[in-house]
């Protein structure tokens, strides 16, 4: 791994900015910085968002697992518990539909000039994230660790090498995309 580069703080901040510029450029070109496109997905009228996400997952899944097998990258799966993921995920979903952007696309929408994203979106997300920081000690002591399952990955869950999961998962996602195209969506 490029551990020397990973520990250079200034270089990393610059790389983060650069990666963000590419990410924002791609999101805008894909239409994902548009409220209409995101809401269209949630109403099953426009499948752009799912097409972008699934293609990103297929390419990224193969690439990152290759890098890992070559010793050039390590995985960072997130910790999870039923109390955090189920409740947080559903709250997020309600916000996703109400705001019509997510934390990444809201930044892109701001760049695009959408003021509802700037004032409502960024302002609201900052307020919500701060509210979570305030509630955190109480939530941590009660609900966040309920049904903790740690940072387990699907290959670990199935007790197999990741390469038994990556090709079928990639094939399944490509099949799903083909199905969407076939259905004319």
């Amino acid at each position: 791994m490029l551990t020397g580069l990973h520990s250079k703080k200034g270089a990393q901040l610059a790389l983060g900015l650069l990666a963000g510029i590419v990410f924002g450029f791609l999101l805008q070109k894909g239409g994902a910085t548009q409220y209409d496109v995101i809401i269209g997905q949630l109403l099953f009228e426009d499948f752009t968002v799912v097409k972008i996400m699934l293609s990103a997952v297929v390419v990224g899944m193969i690439g990152v697992h290759l890098l890992r097998s070559l010793g050039l990258a390590q995985l960072h799966p997130k910790q999870g518990s039923w109390g955090s993921i189920l409740i947080g995920g559903l709250l997020f979903g309600c916000g996703f539909a109400t705001l019509g952007y997510c934390p990444g696309t809201v930044a892109g929408a701001v760049g695009n000039g959408h003021l509802d994203a700037l004032i409502g979106g960024v302002g609201g997300i900052l307020l919500g994230a701060w509210l979570f920081a305030v509630l955190y000690p109480r939530l941590q002591a009660t609900i966040l660790n309920k049904g903790d399952f740690g940072d387990i990955t699907l290959p670990q869950l199935l007790k197999v090498n990741a390469w038994y999961v990556v090709p079928p998962a990639a094939a399944g996602l490509v099949g799903l995309l083909a199905l969407l195209e076939w259905a004319g969506l």
Partner: protein
């Protein structure tokens, strides 16, 4: 360079590009793409303006310090990158109300802003509760085959579809 001026690219091309970008960030920065932590850090920076060092003592800000990090500059980059793309295709313009919203609920800015703030609060709270957002869980987590992220993305869309249907087909219908 006509392709840079196109207003839309194929979603498959855009997705593949984001997948390749993910590989690069793992390789060069040892980091998955993610956006919501930056908002938590920023909220801590803002609280610090009002309350000084006391804000940093919150247990959550001990875990996610209110400082500029890789992910924070990433989010700033997203704003810049989207602005460049929009400028090149001629779609960079200040708007208050999205078309789809205006078609259903009218062109007034105040109702849209009020609903957007409410949505933002839910999203900020939910993303930190679940420990990630559509990029951190939805793309980076699922591509690592993390169990938490596959569950999270199912919940994001379940909640999102239900509320979008409620807003547009029940309240707006």
């Amino acid at each position: 360079m006509e392709w840079l001026e196109m207003s839309r690219w194929s979603p498959y091309l855009v997705g593949a590009g984001i997948g390749l970008l993910s590989c690069l960030t793992f390789l060069l920065s040892d980091k998955p793409l993610g956006c919501s932590t930056a908002f938590a850090r920023s909220s801590g920076m803002i609280e610090r303006i009002f309350r000084g060092r006391k804000a940093s003592l919150r247990p959550y800000f001990q875990k996610f310090a209110p400082v500029v990090d890789w992910e924070w500059t990433l989010v700033v980059g997203v704003i810049i990158g989207a602005a460049i793309s929009a400028k090149l295709s001629g779609s960079l313009a200040a708007t208050w109300v999205p078309d789809k919203w205006a078609d259903t609920f009218g062109p007034a800015a105040a109702p849209r802003l009020a609903v957007a703030v409410l949505g933002g609060i839910l999203m900020g709270l939910g993303s930190r509760w679940a420990g990630g957002c559509t990029s951190g869980h939805g793309i980076s987590g699922t591509l690592q085959l993390a169990a938490s992220s596959w569950l999270a993305v199912a919940c994001f869309f379940a909640g999102g579809v239900a509320v979008a249907m409620l807003i547009f087909h029940v309240l707006g219908g």
